[in-house]
């Protein structure tokens, strides 16, 4: 049998059968994992960001241990790589890239956008980050350093953006509604809209 030419559906059925037979993962566990993966979306990360903006204790937890912060908001993190959170400040803007492959904090942001995995994004992210994010219209003010986080190993990284001006009276739900996936990768920054 040539595994490269075998029907994918048949391989999947065989693999699921073996996983169950060997007691590695039951069909119910696989279904649960698929459901968790499908539920993960940038909306989850946005909820965390909004909570961090209104709750200093949560913000501190999020920066210290992103996994525990996500779990505190009911986001399933079991089996996911540890989550690290990097905070944008008036001095430092963070940008996340994975030059080696496509490491991405899927548990809190869902599937990565198509460009995140492109060779161009990965190469330019580390080589010319300011030129790269300018293509999203993101121009950092003078005096703001850029810190490029090359996600090379066991952690997954997300950015905690700064709360935009003009949102002082907003509640958490409305704050979450303006946080986009690019803001948590660092190619854009949220604005009051």
């Amino acid at each position: 049998m040539n595994i490269l030419e075998t029907d994918g559906e048949k391989l999947l059925i065989a693999l699921r059968g073996l996983l169950a037979e060997k007691g590695i993962a039951s069909s119910a566990e696989l279904a649960e994992r698929i459901a968790i993966t499908d539920r993960a979306s940038p909306g989850q990360g946005a909820r965390m960001v909004a909570r961090a903006w209104v709750d200093p204790d949560f913000r501190a937890l999020m920066l210290e241990d992103g996994t525990r912060a996500a779990e505190a908001m009911g986001i399933p993190m079991r089996g996911a790589p540890p989550l690290g959170v990097l905070e944008n400040t008036p001095d430092t803007h963070n940008l996340v890239v994975c030059t080696l492959c496509s490491c991405y904090p899927r548990a809190v942001l869902g599937y990565p956008p198509f460009w995140y995995k492109s060779a161009a994004y990965r190469a330019r992210g580390v080589r010319d980050p300011r030129g790269l994010i300018a293509e999203w219209g993101t121009v950092l003010p003078d005096g703001v350093h850029i810190q490029v986080v090359d996600s090379t190993a066991d952690f997954r990284w997300m950015v905690l953006p700064m709360r935009p001006a003009g949102t002082a009276a907003w509640n958490e739900e409305r704050l979450a509604s303006i946080v986009r996936e690019g803001d948590m990768i660092g190619v854009t920054v949220p604005a009051a809209i």
């Binding site: 980050p129 850029i146 810190q147 490029v148 090359d150 996600s151 090379t152 952690f155």
Partner: protein, 94 residues
């Protein structure tokens, strides 16, 4: 294996195992031989270089290391930095 505290000056080993045979390495090419500063220890993780081949994998310390952009590329703005996870066995004191 050497332990590094926050602020320690380190150099990424200028080693190219990929020239010696099949391997799986999580240390980017562009940082080999470069000097950086340890920001913090992230924890201990199974060595991916063994894990990738199904070999027994020792747990190794993983560090977050900061590198100045201009030092790496001879270009870019002073103060701009790269922050990268590097395993302990790739670091030496600088």
């Amino acid at each position: 294996m050497m332990a590094f505290g926050p602020g320690a000056s380190v150099r990424v080993k200028d080693d190219w195992p990929e020239t010696r045979g099949p391997c799986h390495i999580r240390t980017p090419h562009y940082l080999r031989g470069m000097r950086g500063q340890v920001v913090r220890r992230l924890g201990e993780f199974a060595n991916p270089e063994d894990l990738a081949f199904g070999r027994p994998a020792q747990r190794r310390a993983l560090y977050h290391v900061a590198f100045e952009q201009p030092g790496v590329w001879h270009d870019g703005r002073a103060g701009d930095a790269l922050l990268v996870e590097i395993f302990e066995h790739w670091l030496e004191p600088a």
